[in-house]
């Protein structure tokens, strides 16, 4: 299939350690790819390569059929690659609108000359995108400190959507959430897929993977050890790939 975002033989070394070793993987529009692997497998580093935090030592990144150079987080954002980190990267002391527009604040002119923060405008836009994703947050004026984990996750996702993410990378999105909120986030992921966005999902929750992911890719010690279509596989096989099938004997 034609990938929206793809890495080709991408490699990253730190000193003597090869964290990512010639990994070629891709995600298509409207598809969710789950990225799996044990701690130290290289998932985080791969993500950071794609989102501009690290630069690859070898290999290439391609977007929509063209090679791109991503040399900083801003480049990644400009290319439409948005990342939602585990800690959500939200400012607790600001409200929903301010967070969605963090770094790209809207201004308006007062008295023709003065450029002033357009807080109300930002809130209105925030409300629109929240509505589009069917998320309910009672008061947009309060700081996000008052929101639940699931709501914050929703705000982080809304931020990416507002900025027209083409590819959304989510790192352990349901990790700190209760059951009901996990379901809501997974629904959000489905909504995003329907809107044609490509999603890369890092998750240890096998349930999440089998619920929303279309394909999965497993890394071990920096190497891509297997790709599967989710409906053609099962959790046991996946676990086997993650830990190395010598440990999990299973007839296939």
């Amino acid at each position: 299939m034609d990938y929206l975002l793809e890495t080709r033989n991408i490699t990253k070394r730190f000193g003597g350690l090869t964290a990512v070793d010639k990994v070629s993987v891709g995600v298509g529009a409207g598809e969710a790819l789950a990225l799996l692997g044990d701690n130290g497998a290289g998932k985080s580093t791969l993500i950071k390569l794609v989102s501009g935090v690290h630069q690859p030592d070898e290999g290439e990144i391609w977007m929509s059929g063209e090679r791109v150079r991503i040399e900083s987080p801003m480049d990644a954002l400009a290319a439409g690659i948005e990342t939602i980190y585990q800690d959500l990267a939200l400012a607790e002391n600001l409200d929903v609108g301010a967070n969605i527009f963090l770094g790209r604040e809207r201004m308006r002119r007062r008295l023709g000359v003065l450029k002033v923060l357009d807080d109300q405008g930002m809130r209105d836009e925030a409300q629109k995108v929240l509505d589009r994703l069917d998320i309910h947050i009672p008061s947009l004026k309060k700081t996000i400190r008052t929101l639940s984990g699931g709501q914050r996750q929703a705000v982080a996702i809304s931020r990416s959507i507002y900025w027209d993410a083409k590819v959304l990378i989510m790192d352990e999105p349901t990790a700190a959430l209760g059951v009901a909120e996990q379901k809501k986030v997974l629904n959000l992921v489905r909504t995003l897929k329907d809107q044609g966005i490509g999603i890369i999902l890092i998750s240890h929750q096998m349930y999440d993977v089998f619920e929303v992911a279309d394909r999965l890719a497993v890394m071990r010690r920096g190497v891509l050890v297997g790709e599967r279509v989710v409906k053609d596989t099962d959790p046991d096989e996946v676990v086997g790939l993650i830990v190395g099938s010598e440990t999990v004997g299973k007839e296939r």
């Binding site: 987080p73 002391n93 770094g103 923060l117 009672p138 699931g150």
Partner: protein, 355 residues
């Protein structure tokens, strides 16, 4: 997503108390003010109030500066000595210009501009150390404090920095308007009257200037992108970085801004006292940090507003003046500020938890 609707009305019924509680610092200020009104005669008249603001000007300026720095989660210990440095530099420059034959008014203007320009430098160094070398703000600004102190002493070389053209002294102790009873209102120039006629002085010049400066920076903090970024950096520096906010540049800007304000304070000091001292601002730093904290800002960054900080600064200014007027030596001030400071933080936590 589930709504987080506040539990019905048990909380709503206590509207007034909750309103007062969240604005407790204002309540405290009013009570404090009333207290001193009773303690000493003449506390509540116009001229006493103006004196209050007049002497409080330096604390106000430094509080604005510290607020910006503290919101980013940092602290600036060097502002007092930057103020001293600026007070000395301004006098030296103006004196030199006058001696070179420049018209006093021009000399004063040029001197002020030059001092402010030079006064940004310490802040730039502070910002560079904090943002680019990752030196903890406490250490960086403490080091700068010493450096400014050293340079100040170096410049005066044992001779007091004193003496400014009359114009500067007039601005420093002058008022915006004067009212001669009987109706004549004159601006900027004190009217010459016969002996025994009391001229009402309205609003000292430097108070006006400070009010304007405070208003400008309040605007910057609350309504500009720069201000928003300052809050973001204090709230979650990682988030700010990843959102593409130029964190290092902003930090540089914040410390430079603080340094600028401290230098402005130094110029004001020079105009007020017609002299410059290296340690002119030494105790002001602690007062301004106290003002910011009493005003509700968190030492960890991310919160604090100009209005509340000014209230905090007023608390200290009133305390100062009140103690002075009621005859208690200012030793008590330190004790009281210390106690108020601790109580303020405790109150803030209490109020926050109730929300």
């Amino acid at each position: 997503m589930s709504d987080t609707r506040p539990k019905a009305s048990a909380a709503e019924g206590r509207g007034v108390m909750s309103y007062l509680r969240s604005r407790w610092i204002l309540v405290f200020l009013v009570l404090e003010f009333l207290f001193f009104c009773f303690r000493s005669e003449g506390f509540a008249n116009l001229s006493a109030l103006q004196m209050l603001l007049y002497y409080g000007v330096l604390v106000f300026l430094l509080s604005v500066a510290e607020l910006f720095v503290i919101i980013t989660g940092g602290i600036d210990l060097s502002l007092g000595y930057i103020l001293g440095f600026a007070s000395i530099v301004s006098i030296k420059i103006i004196q030199a210009l006058v001696a070179a034959g420049l018209d006093p008014a021009l000399a004063v203007l040029a001197g002020v501009v030059a001092t402010l320009a030079v006064g940004i430098l310490p802040g730039l160094v502070n910002g560079w150390l904090v943002a680019y070398l990752n030196v903890p703000p406490f250490i960086a600004t403490f080091a700068m404090l010493g450096v400014c102190h050293g340079i100040s002493e170096l410049i005066i070389n044992g001779v007091y920095a004193m003496g400014l053209p009359k114009l500067a002294a007039d601005i420093g102790s002058g008022h915006l308007a004067y009212l001669v009873p009987g109706g004549v209102l004159s601006f900027f120039r004190k009217p010459v009257v016969e002996r025994g006629v009391a001229v009402a002085e309205i609003v000292p010049n430097i108070v006006v200037a400070t009010a304007v400066v405070v208003a400008i920076f309040a605007f910057v903090l609350a309504r500009t992108r720069f201000g928003r970024h300052v809050y973001a950096i204090g709230g979650n520096m990682d988030a700010a970085l990843r959102a593409g906010i130029p964190v290092k540049r902003r930090l540089l800007g914040v410390y430079a801004l603080a340094s600028f304000l401290a230098s402005l304070g130094g110029v004001v000091y020079a105009f007020m006292y017609v002299s410059g001292k290296a340690d002119a601002g030494a105790s002001l730093v602690m007062d301004s940090i106290a003002a910011v904290v009493i005003g509700g800002a968190s030492m960890f960054g991310g919160s604090g507003t100009m209005g509340r900080t000014m209230v905090g600064a007023l608390v200290i200014a009133v305390l100062d003046m009140g103690l002075r007027m009621s005859g208690t030596p200012t030793f008590d001030k330190y004790i009281l500020v210390g106690v108020i400071l601790i109580l303020a933080v405790i109150m803030e936590r209490y109020v926050k938890e109730r929300e």
